[in-house]
Structure formats: C-alpha cells, structure tokens
Amino acid sequence: MKVPTMAEYMAEGKQPEILFWVGSAGSYDDRAKKITKAFVKILNKANVDFAVLGPEESSTGDVAKRAGNEFLFQMQAMMNIEVLNGYEIKRIVTCDPHSFNCIKNEYPSLGGKYEVVHHTQFIKELIDSGRLQNVGDTYKGKRITFHDPCYLGRANEVYDAPRDVLSVLNANLTEMKRHKATALCCGAGGAQMFKEPEKGDKDINVLRTEDALETNPEIIATGCPYCNTMMTDGVKYKEKEDSIIVQDIAELIANAQNL
C-alpha cells in the first residue's frame, strides 16, 4: 500500500497536497485500521498527493483534555505543532472527528493554524471535483442509516458532507429519530472510551443502537472510529451482527469502488 511519509516528501524537497492525520485509533486499533486503509485506497484511487507523519505523529491530546489533563493536552499539542509547522503543513485531513475538532479548534491559539477537513468532507470534494467517479452500485437500494459523531455534528456543525457522500451510493438513506443536532452520543466521547461507564441501567451504545434498529437498517454508517466500535458492540449486544453491518463511510465508498 502506497503511504508516503512527510519525511520522505521532505527528502525529495516536495510538499504534498494534504497531510493525512491518521490518529491513534486509526494507527493501532484493529477495527479502525481498516477504516484508515479504506481511506488510503480512496486517496490513491483519486490520485491525491498525500503524506502521513508516521512515527512522528503523536496523540493530539484531545482525550487527555477531555479527561481533565490540560497539561498533558498542551504538551502533546505543542509537540505536534512543532512537527507540523516544521513541515509547513497547510491542510490536514483526518478520519477521526476528535482529532479534527482538536486540531481545527484547539491548536490555533497554541500556534498551530491549519485548514482541517474531515475525511467525509474530503471525499465529497473528490466526488464534486470529478476526481472520484462512478462510485458504483454495490449499495443500491440498501437501507443505510448514518450515526452523527458528536465531534463532527454538534461540535462543528458538519451534518451534510457525510450524507452527501452517502447519497452517491444510491442507497436508501433513512434517518434515526434523533439525528443531526439532536443525535444521541455513541457513549465513547469525553474519554469514556477508555473507562468503564458509571453505574446506570443501560449502556449508551446500546441505547444508540436501539435508535438505529428502529430504522430497520442493513447498514449503520459511521464517520468516527470510536463510534464504529461502539455501534459494532451495540449490534453484537443486540445479536444482530448477522443482519446488520457497521461501516465507516470511507469503507462503504472503497467497497463500492471495488478497491
């Protein structure tokens, strides 16, 4: 798989069109790595000149900040900013809404000013500009429902890009009762991904999965690696993993293109 690093670009004295921020989940988590690869396939297919930081990338610090450790967050942020500024990065794309939000909104006042886009926005750009064509009919007529990630939706009001991308699949898109601004969280945000939930009568991902099941979907589409894990677990909990698949929008597009 062709995945050039910034160091390699630098050595050749070139600058890529965009930096792909893989994020910690996308780099290490088995399920999320599949999303990363699907997105890279799309980038390669559309001949996008991109690079990753590879071992020079480090946690954005987002989750440390949400857990209350402002110090660790700013340490991480400043280290990353040093690297990014060193490479004179202008534009960043990421599959992780948490990295997206953090770099886009919280890095600027620490000296890191970049244009940051979510991968669904970038894929939409590729489609709109004709760099990605004939997406394919793999999902024609399939019932798909999209779960809005909090850090893409409410946090940054990006509601349309993921839906626009899904709409080229000619699938049967249905909305959950709670969607867009009123979408229910998958339960992973605010560092919950890394701890047991507090005592309650249900897990949040189960409640969100029930929202999705009401639409009787064949596919639950996600736009965040953490949401993906949460919804996958929810579907398993409901013993529906044989009839419902949970996939990131990048995976759906890559599949439709037979990549």
């Binding site: 798989m1 690093t5 910690s24 996308g26 780099s27 290490y28 790595k33 990363t36 990753v52 590879g54 071992p55 990338e57 480090s58 946690s59 989750v63 440390a64 900040k65 949400r66 857990a67 209350g68 450790n69 402002e70 110090f71 660790l72 700013q74 340490m75 991480q76 400043m78 280290m79 939000n101 886009k104 909104n105 006042s109 620490l110 909090c150 409410r154 946090a155 940054n156 009001e157 601004a181 009123t182 229910l184 969280c185 339960g187 945000g189 605010g190 560092a191 991904m193 890394f194 701890k195 939930p197 507090e198 005592k199 309650g200 009568d201 249900k202 897990d203 949040i204 409640l207 969100r208």
Partner: protein, 436 residues
C-alpha cells in the same frame, strides 16, 4: 385626606421596586464573584442571538407544543403588563383609566380587548402547564433534583399567573364606567353579570385594582428566589453566550506558559522571576467551587429555567447515570447563593465554610459520567453551557488532586510515554501500512 391613596400607592411602589433593586444588586455581586472572561467580540452576532433566542424564542419552539404554549404566556404576560403603566399613573395621580382621556375610545378598547383575550389565553395555557407538571407528570419534571422547592416554585408561578389574570378580568368586569363604554370589554362583559350591580361593585373593582398592582410587585420580588429569573436574565445570557464551535474547549493560558517554559531548551527553571513579575500564588487549575468558575457560567446558573431539556437529551442521564446537566446548573446556583449569604453574614468577605461545589453538591460520579457530547448545550433554550462547568471540575480533579479514575490514569500514562492512549510503541505508528 384625599391624598392618602396616592401616598399609599407611592409607598407601595417605592418599597416594591426598592427591594427588587436591592436583590438585583446582590445578584450582580454574586455573578461577579466569578472569574473574568472576555465575551465582547462579535457584537452584531451577539445582538442577533439575543433577538432570535431570547426575544424570538427560536430554541423554545424546537419542542413545538411546549414552545407554542410558552410563547402565549410570554407574549401575554409582557403585553398585558403595558396595562401596568396606566395603573401606575392612575395610582400616583389619582386618575381613573387615564388612557381613556388621551386615546380614542376605539383604540383604547382595542388595546384592552386584546389584553382581555390574551389574559384568557394565558389562563388556559397556565392550566395546561399545571396539568403537565402535576397530572400528566412529564418525566423531565419528575427527576430527583425537582423535588421540594423547585417543584413548588414551578407551581407557585402558575398560581401567580392565574391570580393576576383573574384580578385583571375582575377589575374590568366590575368597572361600571368601563363596561358602560362598551368597547374593549370583550371578555369581561360576560362575567360582569356575576357581580350584580350597586355600590359594592366599586369596592370589588378597587380591591381587584390594588391586589393586581400589589401582586405584580410581589411577583417582581419573587423572581430572585425563583427559576423565573430567566425572564430577565435570558437576555444577557444569550448575549454573552459562547459563539465558538461547541467542540472547542478553552485552552488554559496559565498552562500554556508552563508548557512553553518546559519545552524551551534555553529556559532556566530556577531563574528568579523577572523584575516586576510577581511570584504570587500558583494559579489553581480547574474549579472546585463557584469562585473558580467564570462569571458567564455563574450567570448561566441564575438563568437556568429548570426546564430539563438538557437532561432529557443527555445520554448519561437517559441510561440511568447520576449525571443531570440541569442539576449541575441548579447546584451551581444553590452553592453560589450559599456563598453570597455567607458574604452577607460576614460583612462582605467570604469566610470558609468547609464546603464546596465539588463533593458537597456535585459528586465525582456525576462528573465522570459525561461524554462531552454537547447535547445539553444544544438543547438549552437560553444557551446555557453545563458542559463547560463539568470540564472545569474534571480539570480540578485531575490537575489538583490527581483523582482521575484508574483506567484514565493508565490511558494518560500511555499518552505521556508512547504518544497514544494505548500501550503501543510510537515507532509502530505506521505498521498498519504493511499489515493485511
């Protein structure tokens, strides 16, 4: 002797308004206990938000039934209170329905007629509201934090409205002159018969008139002790609300200074502070009490209408966790009131009472249940931000007390050591490229 009613009225007015002014002063002082935060940018957008959200109630109508009913009470209440202007002039100068002298009968009739219709609409709406709270038992009015005073408060306001509206209609119905004018008594003419005719009519009319204005003054002073404060504070609250993307949390400037120092290879950590730079006490990170919050967060707490829209959208609360963003706001307000009373009792300075917002009001269990999803912020009809308070308190727990849940400490340790929340080597970040 003939001026006694005028003097009585003036005294009533001065006492009512004066006491209210005193409470407003206390309220402002309490809000100013918060830290400074600059929200003076983008004035035009702020005015627009205030016009849309506070005046135009644009977020209220997201729940169409409650929103519609609320608008009736809101509009009715404000417009009917134009009538208070006439009452005040009449009261001070001993006139009777002074506007009939300056306005043509038809205009006056139209105004009072509209007020009467609104009064009936308000009455009907208030009854529906009462049923929602007490008979239909809507879930969001039944949470643990709504027991006791908050529950009575909600009902008392409704009774107030019933009494005020009824007095207004009775006052009109028993005003023989007004009824004789035959314009604007569109509702009151139907109940005028109930009161018969004769000398006693005038007495009822006067009684209703005095009780009406006294009731309004009492209501004005009730505000400070009630969630109804939002009818005033909704305006500044929406003006000063955060305009940045909801996902953007503030970066602590004091932390930035320290981190920069640590990362600067030339910095001498033992260097004496530069001339003029006072060493001072090291700043406290995050918030354990109300004084650590900023003044907008404190104003938020007084503005909260206790409507529970936030809590009814909160994923943690919906799944039975203890966290309720409404309770976060109510706790902040109650603690702030307690601190304010402490200051009053101790001649203007706060004397440590061994209590704090953290633990005595808000438990760590509540704080750690939050997913930072912003659903509460989105849902709030008056742009309150409960999440920002939760985050400040987490910051205190972690940075001042190292009291994060164990798993989170492990996660943060991993980030410190390997640059990822999991124990993987940073050098392996790109391994996925060659895996299948």
């Amino acid at each position: 002797m003939e001026y006694i009613p005028n003097i009585l009225f003036a005294i009533l007015l001065i006492v009512g308004v004066g006491y209210f002014a005193k409470n407003v002063k206390k309220l402002t002082r309490n809000i100013k206990l918060g830290k400074d935060v600059d929200r003076s940018d983008n004035k035009s957008e702020r005015w627009k938000n205030m016009a849309m959200i506070a005046l135009g109630q644009s977020k209220m109508v997201k729940r169409p039934i409650a929103g519609f009913l609320h608008i009736i009470v809101y509009v009715g209440f404000i417009i009917i209170n134009l009538e208070v202007l006439e009452i005040i002039i009449d009261g001070l100068f001993g006139t009777h329905r002074v506007f009939t002298k300056v306005l043509p009968d038809s205009v006056y009739g139209f105004l009072i007629g509209s007020f009467e219709i609104l009064a009936v609409l308000v009455l009907i709406t208030v009854i529906i509201f009462w049923l929602r709270r007490n008979v239909i038992k809507l879930k969001r009015f039944l949470s643990a934090e709504m027991k006791g005073w908050p529950k009575s408060d909600g009902n008392i306001i409704l009774y107030f409205e019933v009494v005020l509206m009824t007095l207004f209609l009775v006052m009109n119905a028993t005003d023989a002159e007004f009824q004789a004018m035959g314009s604007g008594n569109i509702i009151s003419k139907h109940i005028a018969g109930l009161f018969g005719s004769g000398e006693h009519l005038h007495i009822i009319e006067r009684a209703a008139w005095w009780l009406h204005i006294a009731g309004i003054l009492v209501f004005l002073n009730y505000l400070y002790y009630s969630k109804h404060l939002h009818i005033l504070l909704a305006f500044p609250n929406t003006w000063y609300a955060n305009l940045k993307p909801k996902g953007q949390f503030v970066n602590d400037a004091s932390v930035t200074k320290e981190v920069k120092l640590m990362m600067d290879p030339n910095a001498d950590p033992f260097a004496a502070p530069a001339e003029g730079e006072d060493e001072g006490e090291p700043e406290k990170f995050g918030a354990s009490d109300v004084q650590d919050l900023n003044w907008v967060q404190l104003m938020n707490s007084y503005t909260c209408t206790e409507c529970g829209r936030c809590t009814s959208e909160c994923p943690a609360n919906l799944t039975g966790k203890k966290l309720s963003p409404r309770k976060i706001m109510m706790d902040t307000r109650d603690r702030l009131e307690e601190v304010g009373k402490n200051i009053d009792a101790n001649n203007g300075t706060f004397v440590d009472d061994g209590k704090s917002l953290l633990n005595d009001y808000i438990t760590t269990e509540e704080l750690w249940a939050c997913t930072s999803c912003n659903a509460c912020v989105e849902a709030c009809p008056v742009n309150i931000d409960p999440l920002s308070i939760i985050m400040e308190m987490r910051k205190y727990l972690v940075m001042e007390q190292s009291a994060a849940p164990t798993e989170l400490n492990v996660m943060m340790g991993n980030i410190e050591n390997n640059g990822a929340p999991w124990p993987y080597n940073q050098m392996d970040r790109l391994n996925w490229k060659d895996e299948n």
